[in-house]
């Protein structure tokens, strides 16, 4: 039966110092299928993919690709063998153009000196974007793109290799419904051409829409492989978590009290225009909109990262001036940013230090940091958010993406904010953790925290928000109550 499989892996083990990321797992992908790999944060999914792609070498194990033993010691060989990959962590070369990024390592050349043919590269990139229905200028610098667009470039790059097997490690974590649809179109057409795809995502609905088979890992161990049709969301979650998680959105009733945060006529040239809204004590307000609709810009303005040109912000009914994040933090506002690598995590520093950095004053005792207080607080967060790590002294760099996200959330929880702004709070977070974060949001709301949440995941917006604000091209298009909000209405407003 071997010829049915494009990829077969057996007994693959990989250890990192202190962590057995993969424990003699098996994994088989059928030719021409879309195969989902599921598991909680830190289950070992990315590690396995990196092994296939030649970034890591396994400690033990057998890998067969297209029926032959596969020995890849570098990504170059993997690419040559017909494997390409969309990486979980975006990895752009910031100062190079989109086209240069796409064709890095295989630039077209001309003439006998082997000059790089820039023209052809741009043309090729344009053609590629056209066939994939992506609207981007290949000449723009990578650093000037939004994360969502960077993600689209990565998708295009992986597709452009004409590979037989494309690994997609959380390709939709940074994009909205519209782009997800584009991706699915791309996947369907690849599938039609017989390309196999390994698809990793924490978004259940995506898995059930496009995947043929699902393999589940838990804590570095192989749990099983099933046809998608054999599974329901609940049974899949049970496989992943090892226990039953029934309700995905833990929206609890909270008492909604007076207005804490109000913004009126907030504008910033070229970014957004005349934005007004209120958030009340105990309320969760969702902001929905397409990629580039200016949601992030609005909340960054409120937080003082890039203050608005005009308009007012009121906190507890008083007009406030927020010029820097420090001002915002003093007013008990917290912001979890959308890009954890760029503006969130301190990569070379320990989990513990990452957590306490913005609430350090509460751990000071006669000018010194009290280690015991820190440990207590951090351990409490680790427990509450179920962060998977051998120790809080571990560098945050070595955590899986979802766990990094939780550490950053913990950072702001330690601040005990009145107003908590969350920009894509569950990006790259697994179902279990996601429901824990949601539970926590509910709990905070019940305690009286006002929460303002940006999310590109429609179910999350609908499931968690008391009210939904919809934005489009820098303008507020409308507001919907929990009762009246549904996917159609939101999308209609977002596209208008």
């Amino acid at each position: 039966m071997s010829e049915n499989y494009i990829l077969e892996m057996e007994n693959v083990t990989k250890e990192f110092p202190g962590v057995k990321a993969l424990d003699s797992i098996q994994f088989k992908v059928k030719k021409g299928s879309v195969h989902a790999l599921m598991g909680e944060n830190g289950a070992g999914k990315s590690t396995l993919m990196k092994i296939i792609f030649g970034i890591y070498t396994p400690d033990t194990g057998m890998i067969k690709f297209k029926g032959h033993d596969l020995k890849v010691s570098s990504t170059k060989e993997a690419l040559k063998n017909g494997i390409s990959m969309i990486h979980q962590e975006l990895s752009p070369v910031p100062h190079m153009t989109v086209a240069e990024n796409i064709f890095l390592g295989r630039e077209p050349t001309k003439g006998k000196f082997g000059w790089v043919n820039n023209k052809k590269m741009i043309e090729d990139a344009k053609d590629l974007f056209k066939t994939l229905n992506i609207d981007l200028d290949p000449n723009s610098k990578m650093k000037d793109l939004s994360i969502a667009n960077m993600q689209m470039v990565e998708i295009a790059t992986a597709v452009s290799y004409d590979a037989d097997l494309i690994i997609m490690d959380e390709p939709t974590s940074a994009i909205t419904e519209k782009e997800v649809e584009k991706l699915f179109e791309i996947i369907n057409s690849l599938n039609a051409k017989g390309v196999s795809i390994i698809y990793i995502s924490h978004k259940m609905d995506e898995i059930f829409r496009i995947c043929d088979e699902i393999t589940v890992f838990r804590d570095g161990q192989y749990i099983g492989t099933k046809e998608t049709t054999e599974l329901t969301q609940d049974t899949l979650i049970q496989m992943m978590v090892g226990r039953e998680i029934k309700q995905v959105f833990h929206k609890e009733k909270a008492e909604i009290k007076e207005v804490i945060l109000a913004v009126s006529n907030l504008s910033k040239e070229g970014k957004f225009d005349n934005i007004s809204f209120e958030v009340r004590k105990g309320e969760i307000v969702g902001i929905s909109g397409l990629m580039g609709s200016g949601r992030t810009e609005v909340i960054e303005s409120i937080f003082g990262i890039d203050p608005p040109d005009s308009g007012d912000i009121f906190i507890h009914g008083e007009k406030v001036k927020i010029k820097t994040p420090q001002d915002a933090i003093k007013l008990k506002v917290a912001l979890l940013t959308e890009d954890r690598k760029l503006s969130g995590a301190f990569l070379p520093i320990s989990i513990k230090e990452n957590m306490i950095i913005s609430s350090i004053d509460q751990f000071l005792e006669r000018g010194y940091i009290n280690k015991k207080l820190v440990d207590e607080a951090c351990n409490e967060q680790v427990e509450q958010l179920n962060i998977k790590t051998p120790s809080t002294d571990q560098l945050i760099m070595n955590l899986s993406g979802g766990n990094q996200q939780k550490v950053l959330l913990a950072r702001w929880l330690l601040n005990d904010p009145d107003i908590l702004i969350l920009d894509e709070p569950t990006r790259g977070v697994d179902v279990g953790a996601k429901s824990e974060i949601h539970k926590l949001m509910s709990k905070l709301a019940q305690k009286g925290t006002a929460i303002l949440m940006i999310s590109s995941e429609m179910p999350e917006v609908l499931g968690m928000s008391d009210r939904v604000i919809v934005m489009h091209e820098g303008n507020k298009k409308g507001e919907l109550n929990r009762e009246e909000a549904n996917q159609e209405k939101i999308l209609e407003m977002a596209y208008s």
Binding site: L335, F346, P348, I369, N379
Partner: protein
């Protein structure tokens, strides 16, 4: 439930002994790698030369590097924030001539030259920090400018001449001893402890690492990045001033040519000691060991009577080797 960390550590459920052991070794190696290199160097030296492992010689070595060591502590902090300080040597020269000119016997109280020296160092650092932080230009350029300009000022102030004739109170900071331990060594150790505590136990320290680890994130976390950068450069200037005055007292003369190439040695001590030029990583302990490695090397080669030319060749090779050995230990399995 007291220890949620172990509880959560479900990944290490395969916690067999070998595993834990490997982990420990690599941890120790990465933490103490460069210390091991130093020890190996010292042991080798003590076999090659009987004179090496005597109290007096060891005191000499530590005193010799105490000046650079003190400077290197400030440089370490600067480098942790992804900065660099090329001006230390010139600041030392400026502090040397100005403080010496106020330290003639019977003129002023000892506090006058000391205070003036400290102020000059702090001011130079403050300017470095302000230009880097507020002007948004590379620290390399800001401190290169200071390196050139401060040397010029030192020459201008002293008209290119040494300033001798210093009071015995002033001389004490370079030549004095307390309980048989040379004063510069005592200051080296005290500043080491203070700097270490600042970096590891205070808000200032955590912010230093945060700024180096991710400046954007640091801003969002409410850290006044500019202010802390300025503070850090100022502290580095202050340490340079301390080293400069002690060195002046040690050689009994203020000199505008003092501290030539000090900046390079100080940066080297920090980097050998594990401070990363890409920021966010580094310790005072490591830097002190880095400085000691340089000291033992210089002393050892002199003791062995290696000729000047060969000394340079060997010094280059040994510094690279020391860091290479250390890097190998860090390497992931």
């Amino acid at each position: 439930m007291n220890n949620p960390i172990n509880h959560n550590n479900s990944v290490t459920h395969v916690s067999n002994d070998k595993f834990i052991w490997k982990d420990k070794v690599s941890q120790i190696a990465s933490k103490y790698g460069i210390l091991l290199v130093l020890l190996v160097m010292m042991i080798t030296m003590s076999f090659l030369s009987e004179a090496f492992l005597t109290t007096q010689n060891l005191l000499n070595v530590v005193r010799q590097i105490s000046f650079i060591g003190i400077v290197a502590m400030g440089v370490t902090m600067v480098i942790i924030t992804t900065g660099i300080d090329l001006s230390s040597g010139s600041v030392i020269a400026l502090v040397s001539v100005v403080s010496a000119s106020f330290a003639h016997p019977g003129e002023f109280s000892i506090f006058v030259p000391l205070l003036i020296g400290l102020c000059i160092g702090a001011l130079a650092g403050f300017i470095n920090g302000t230009i880097t932080a507020k002007g948004k230009i590379p620290a390399f350029i800001a401190t290169l400018g200071m390196m050139i300009a401060a040397r010029g000022l030192a020459l201008l102030y002293s008209d290119g001449r040494p300033i001798p004739d210093l009071s015995s109170a002033f001389l004490f900071i370079g030549k004095g001893e307390i309980l048989g331990i040379p004063f510069p060594i005592i200051v080296f150790i005290i500043m080491g402890i203070i700097s270490h505590l600042m970096l590891s136990k205070t808000k200032f320290g955590k912010y230093t690492y945060a700024i180096g680890g991710n400046e954007q994130a640091a801003k969002i976390c409410g850290i006044n990045v500019d202010r802390y950068k300025i503070l850090i450069y100022t502290y580095a200037g202050l340490l340079a001033a301390i080293a400069g005055m002690m060195l002046t007292a040690r050689i009994s003369v203020g000199q505008p040519s003092m501290g030539n190439m000090f900046e390079l040695d100080a940066i080297a001590a920090a980097v050998i000691g594990g401070t990363s030029l890409t920021g966010g990583v580094g310790t005072i302990g490591g830097t002190m060991i880095g400085a000691l490695i340089i000291g033992v090397l210089n002393n050892g080669l002199d003791l062995l009577g290696v000729s000047s030319y060969w000394q340079q060749i060997l010094k280059g090779i040994i510094i690279v080797s020391a860091v290479l050995i250390d890097a190998r230990k860090h390497k992931k399995v």
